[in-house]
Each structure stands twice: as C-alpha cells, then as structure tokens.
Amino acid sequence: MVKNLYDNRLAVNIGGLKMLTPVTTASGTFGFGLEFQDFLDLEKVGAVTVKGTTLEPRAGNKGQRAVETPAGMLNCVGLENPGAEYFLQETLPKLKMINVPIIVNIAGNTPEEYGELAKKLDVEGVDAIEINISCPNVKQGGLAFGTCAISAVQVVEAVKANTSKPVITKLSPNVTDIVEIALAVEKAGSDAVSLINTLLGMKIDINKQKPILGNVMGGLSGPAVRPVAVRMVYQVAQAVQIPIIGMGGIMCAADAIEFLLAGASAIAVGTGNFCDPRLAETISHGIIEYMDAKGISNIHDMIGKALPNR
C-alpha cells in the first residue's frame, strides 16, 4: 500500500474501511475498475465500488437501457451481472492484484438472500459490503427495501449477521424522509451510509409515443440531481453518527468538496466517470489544491464545515 498517498492528508475511515483518499466510485458506473485502467491508476482511488452483484447471474432489462436527459441520464440496466460465484472466481483474483480497497455492492430479492450473499463475499479481497436497497430498476427487492424503514432494517440485520466486513447501506432518494431511513439503518448496525442512489424518472419518445427505456422507468443520475443529493447528505449528516459516502452528479473537485462540506466523509464518482474516465483519480488532486488554497491541512477539518453551528 502506498502508505502516504497524498501525504496522508486525505485519509478517512468509513466505518472501519480505511481509504487513503475520500474518493470512491459509484457502483455500476465503474464496472469492476479494470475497465478504467487505461485512464487512471486504480491505486490512487480511495476504494473501488464494483457493479451490483447478486447471488445468481442476471441478464438485466431488455430494450434501450440508457438515455440522456438535461444534465443527466436515465438508466435501467437492471442489475445485469455474472453472479457472485463468477465474481469470486474470475474477477476478485484480478482485483486482488491491485492495491486498492474493494467495496462490493450487493442486491437480493429477500433479506435472507442479502445475508447469504454477504456470507459468500466474506472473503479476503473484499474490504466492505455496500447494500443496495435502492435500485429502482428491478421488480423484486431493490427500491422496495429502501423506501421503508422496516424492510431496510431487516436487510441490514441479515447482512451484519453474515459478514465481518464494514457494511455500508446505500439509501434511496425516492422517499419522503431519508433521515428516518438513515437513522433506522444506523440503529440496525450499518457502519456507514451512502447516498444517493438514482431518482426514479422516465422519458417518452414523442415520435413513437412510447417510453424510451425498455423498462419504462429508470434511474436519474448526473449533475441534474446534485442539488437533491447535497441536500440529503446535509440532512442525514445532522442526524446520524456513522460516516456518509456522498454521491450524485459529482463532475469535478468543486462538486466533491460541496458534499464534503455538507457532511460526507467520502464521496463517489458515478456518471462523471463516463464524461471523464480520469475523474476518480484527478479529483483528489483538486481537493488537495482547494485545501492548500484554504490553508486546510487535513480533510477532517473540512468535513461538515457547511453544517449549522460549525
């Protein structure tokens, strides 16, 4: 491990997961990390969060899966993935050769399935589990778990009981009160929360007079949603004690800094990876520049700086 990457000024601890910079990647937007090696040095990213993984392989949704919207995009990939077994056999060995923490994003149809998956992934090379209870693109599970505190708690408990790894719960923004859900999963033992997943949206082809996406609705991401994401991080940061990974429309260091000031201890680059595949690396340099300009020696001195009474 490059022990003093960024002179240790950016190091954070997300519920037990040590990251040398607060910058990670948003699940589903960075593949397994390997796809980006032509553009950046994965070891300079704080952690790589890989594509949502399920027990069995999934084919995902049919029809068009992505479409651009103003300053954003909709996707309905629908958790296409080769399954946990394939991940463990084929992908993890490759990831192990790289010196960067790996967060595995998991999804299931029942709390039990989440638990089973967590147990399977409780192996060397997996550094943390991110529970996706907020995917808007699958019929069973997914979003339904994330919009109700009771079922969210069941999933978190099932995962916690089956893993020794830090557990991050990824929250859905499609709720009336995200603070309520955040508090519930904190109480259930989640070591951190990440937010936001995508906002449910859709687009219609006015020529064909039909929804554009194969799955009709999809998840909205990108800069368009950033104001909503920053607001939710700011609200959750005032309620919970566990660390927050903030995401939603981060396209440059300034955007990342907004989330840190709002109370996120780490941030994830999502849709921004598509626009600039180097972003997950270069953003750390931008944060350092900002800290230098502001005379901030350690990242912890700026986390939550924009919260009331700080």
Partner: protein
C-alpha cells in the same frame, strides 16, 4: 492497442449533404492504432448539457498526418454543436474503442446503408482496391455522395435506392442474392439499420458465407463499464462497446 483520451484539434469539416458532415481531427495517438470498425467517443461540449459523449465510427485514417475522420449526420443536440465547431478548435475524444472488423477476407463484399457506410470507408481502405466490392443502399440519389468517397477504394459499386432515383430500385437485398450466387465473396461486412443487417445476415448465412455486422446501441461509457449497451449473444451477454461493435452475425441473438 490501448485507449487514450486526447484533446484533438479539428483540421477541417466538410459538408457532404444537407445534414451529413465529415470532420477531420488531429489525434495521432488514436489515428495510429485505430482499426476499421472501431469507434471513438466524443465530448462535444464541456457544459453539463449535453452531458454524455457521443460515439462515432472511424471513417478514414491518415497515419502520416496523424489524423482521422468521422462522418456524421446532424441529428440532435450534440451533432448540432459538433457541426458548428471551428477549425483549430479542440474536442476531447476517447478512442479507439471496441473491436473492429476481421481483415482476413480475400474477396470481401461490403454492404452499407445510411450512415452505416461511414466505418466501411476505412474498411475498404484496408483491403487492396481490386478485391473489394460494395453494395450501397440509400433513400434517394441525393444521399449517394458516398459514391465519391468510395470510388477510389473499391473495385465495383452496386447501388440501390428506395425510390429508384439511382441504381437498382429497392433495398440492398434487391441485388444481394444475385451477387452472392456468383460465389465470388469469402466474407460479407454489413453496417446499417438493424432490420437491414438482419435481412442481409439471413441471406448471407443462407449462402454459407461468413458475415460480420456492426451494431449500434445507446452507449453511456463506451468502456464496458456501465452495461447500457449490452445485448443478448448466443450463450452469453455481449457488450456492444467492447465485445463489438463488430460481431459475426451468428454470435448475436437479441439485435
């Protein structure tokens, strides 16, 4: 053969028809390694909208000059902006991407329709002129500015137009079965609208000739990471952006 991201200088833009332009950019890192059938992902603006890059096939390559061209139809927001970019301005390009055409054919037949003809220009360039024939389909004679682009690169051009205003009336399939009967070709390369590619592939497969097709799917990353472009292949999922865009017609199940 690694992908790079470069700020490419626009050398020139040429108007090919009412809504089709050719753009030449200086990007030696891409030009020197791009293969026929590969594509690039272009950022037309630094603003938040349009947000995503846009994929375009590599249409011609000039390795000495370090340039390559793209031929594009002005469709929506991004291509409108692209069409207004001035010479010497820079556009950010990622490439070369994807998996190009097999270049092993000895007597290739190229079949293209609409903008699908763009990547075939470079493909034709890569064979010896005498060996290549092409079937070009278009809506009307007006769209057949392509003949000029191909004239010095292929041996024989077969032309069809929907309205019969040039060449044979009908789609490319109006001439294809006849051509295939000759037994001349050892590989057929198709690029165009999906229904056309499916119809051509069927005829070509029936004739027992290997057939490559170049798919188009909505792409967000172009790097195999987001699975926006995934489609059903025989026995496995295919990512059009990395496993393709060029596939053997028999590999593809869900077009």
């Amino acid at each position: 053969m690694s992908k790079t991201m470069v700020d490419a200088k626009v050398v020139c833009q040429i108007v090919l028809s009412e809504d089709v332009k050719l753009i030449e950019v200086f990007a030696p890192d891409i030009a020197c390694i791009a293969q026929p059938g590969q594509f690039v992902n272009v950022q037309v603006s630094k603003q938040a909208a349009p947000l995503l890059r846009r994929p375009f096939g590599v249409a011609e390559v000039n390795r000495e000059k370090g340039t390559f061209t793209m031929i594009y139809r002005i469709m929506g927001e991004a291509t409108k902006i692209l069409a207004n970019i001035c010479n010497n301005d820079f556009i950010n390009i990622i490439g070369p991407l994807g998996h190009g055409f097999s270049l092993n054919a000895k007597r290739p037949l190229l079949v293209g329709g609409g903008l699908g003809l763009a990547p075939l220009v470079y493909l034709a360039q890569s064979f010896s002129k005498d060996s290549v024939e092409i079937v070009m389909g278009g809506r009307t004679a007006k769209e057949l500015f392509w003949t000029e682009l191909f004239s010095d690169k292929v041996n024989i051009m077969h032309i069809t137009t929907d309205d019969g205003s040039q060449g044979t009336k009908g789609t490319v399939n109006a001439v294809l079965p006849q051509l295939l009967k000759s037994g001349k070709y050892d590989c057929v390369y198709v690029c165009g609208p999906v229904p056309m590619m499916q119809a051509v592939a069927k005829v070509v497969e029936t004739a027992g000739i290997p057939c490559q097709v170049s798919l188009e799917k909505y792409m967000a990353c172009g790097l195999g990471a987001c699975l926006s472009c995934s489609c059903g292949g025989v026995g496995k999922r295919l990512k059009v952006c990395t496993d393709g865009p060029v596939f053997w017609s028999t590999e593809v199940e869900e077009w």
